[in-house]
Amino acid sequence: MIVGNRKSFEEIVGMLEGYRRVLVLGCRECVTVCAVGGEREVGVLASELRLYYGREGREVEVGEAVLERQCDYEYIDSIRSLVGDYEVVLSMACGAGVQYVAERYRERVVLPAVDTTFLGVTVEQGVWSERCQGCGECVLHLTAGICPVARCAKSLLNGPCGGSSGGRCEVDREVDCAWQLIVDRLKALGQLDRYREIIPVKDWSRARDGGPRRRVREDMRL
């Protein structure tokens, strides 16, 4: 899923300065699962804002809505009349959702309430961790199913570096060394010989470095 962090209340209030009608818009996909922009979080933020404006003696109307997805225009378009009542949409979706809402409502100001961070997994209740960078050329078959691009701080394809210590990364002692995990897994699979292969220079043109990406399935197009 896509994981994010909610921006600080101060930053959000700063962005909303001067507006009088705000719609807080959540999403039921990834941001609901990682508890940053679903129905619950929309309710909490909207209440916080109402309390704040009430205390400040300012008349700001704060509305709430949650879409199935903010990355499909059918859902976004379904609230056109509601959006018409507000000056600003404060989206609690990932960066893709924020932008797509803005594209569909060009006459409205659309602001982000979330800092989108990574593609990851739930490690335990309340903990998520990065697994994929969408580099466009998966190497997991070469690295025992553990991604060095996303999980090594230096994205080393022929790691580990000299800072791997006790299974941890030199950058953050809370973070596993991806190459320690790879070596351990190769050993467990009886494939440590694979470590000896040099992984060649990567084709970064398939990652974001090649420019914004687009996928077309001609057979699906109408």
Binding site: C161, S164, V171, C177, Q180, V183, I198, V201
Partner: protein
């Protein structure tokens, strides 16, 4: 010989190599390099010049190398993958060769997190193994990483680093093998305080026959104080400082700890020289370059072989 490197020449003649390093200043004052160079004159066979070590911005490695070259040294250009992509790195390698630099040390580079610009974007387009490959392909095949031909091959003697003390220990020799297969001709190791562990690693290296395919230069760093030893042990990832080293420094008065640190360093060099497959030492006297002469002399490694005419810069 593939290059005009003084290190390559001494290794080919069967000699024991002594290298040291010079950290460029955090400013544009070339005198700092010249002063450090004076301390090393006649003491070492080549001088590494670090590339923004510990991710702190410093004078560029190639510019500092050029100053040392002008003083008659054979500099070793350190190149890290953190700050430059394959376009910039290949360009710098061509430029370094054009300036008469004969050696390159290929490194991944410290993460910027601990440097003076922790908010910087890192690059890591290549890793150290791929960087070694790039230099070898450029030099021996006359091609860029793209496969296209280049004119005027960069005649660089290819070095790499390895840390025998980092984890996982069991692949540390296999990782060296990758570097050797990629094209590394000499290796400078992380500083050695735990000689037993280094010997075990050398055993694995010899088992793979790597000591015959590349020259291992064992790294040492003299300790200035017990405080420095503790810092290295606890704060520097992948560093192994045994308690007996710390205890030995603790056992002498504060004002004599530096002297004791030098003594430990000299004894370490003498032990390292006895290990089969060790072809030289790399003395990293961090902001203590003035002590290198004393260490090399006490270790019985003076005088150094004179560079021959072939080492002179082409005019």
């Amino acid at each position: 010989m593939r290059t005009r490197s003084n290190v390559e020449r001494i290794l080919e003649s069967g000699g024991f190599v002594v290298t040291s390093e010079c950290g460029p200043p955090r400013g544009s004052d070339g005198e700092v390099i010249r002063r450090k160079g004076e301390w090393l004159r006649g003491v070492v066979d080549a001088v590494n010049v670090t590339d923004n070590q510990t991710s702190v911005v410093r004078m560029s490695s190639w510019a500092s190398c050029l100053i040392l070259k002008g003083m008659g040294f054979d500099p070793i250009l350190q190149v890290v993958c953190r700050d430059r992509n394959r376009i910039a790195i290949q360009s710098d390698l061509l430029g370094a060769a054009a300036l008469g630099i004969n050696n390159v040390l290929c490194l991944s580079g410290d993460h910027q997190r601990f440097g003076d610009h922790p908010r910087a974007k890192n690059v890591f387009d290549l890793d150290s193994v791929q960087l070694i490959q790039a230099v070898r392909v450029m030099r021996d095949e006359g091609r860029f990483l793209s496969g296209e031909e280049l004119r005027g091959r960069p005649l660089l003697f290819i070095g790499a680093a390895e840390n025998p003390f980092a984890d996982p220990f069991e692949i540390r020799a296999l990782r060296l093998e990758k570097k050797v297969r990629a094209g590394a001709e000499f290796i400078q190791t992380q500083c050695i305080y735990n000689v037993e562990r280094f010997e075990r690693w050398m055993g694995m290296v010899r088992e793979l026959g790597l000591h015959e395919r590349c020259a291992i230069l064992a790294g040492v760093t003299p300790l200035k104080s017990v405080g420095m030893a503790r810092y290295m042990k606890t704060q520097v990832p992948g560093m192994d400082v045994p308690d007996e080293v710390i205890d030995r420094l603790k056992g002498v008065p504060k004002e004599r700890q530096a002297e004791e640190g030098i003594r430990i360093c000299v004894e370490t060099i003498q032990r390292l020289r006895e290990i089969p497959g060790v072809r030289g030492v790399h003395i990293m006297a961090i902001e203590w370059e003035e002590k290198v002469r004393e260490i090399v002399e006490a270790a019985g490694l003076l005088p150094r072989p004179q560079p021959t005419e072939t080492q002179e810069q082409r005019t």
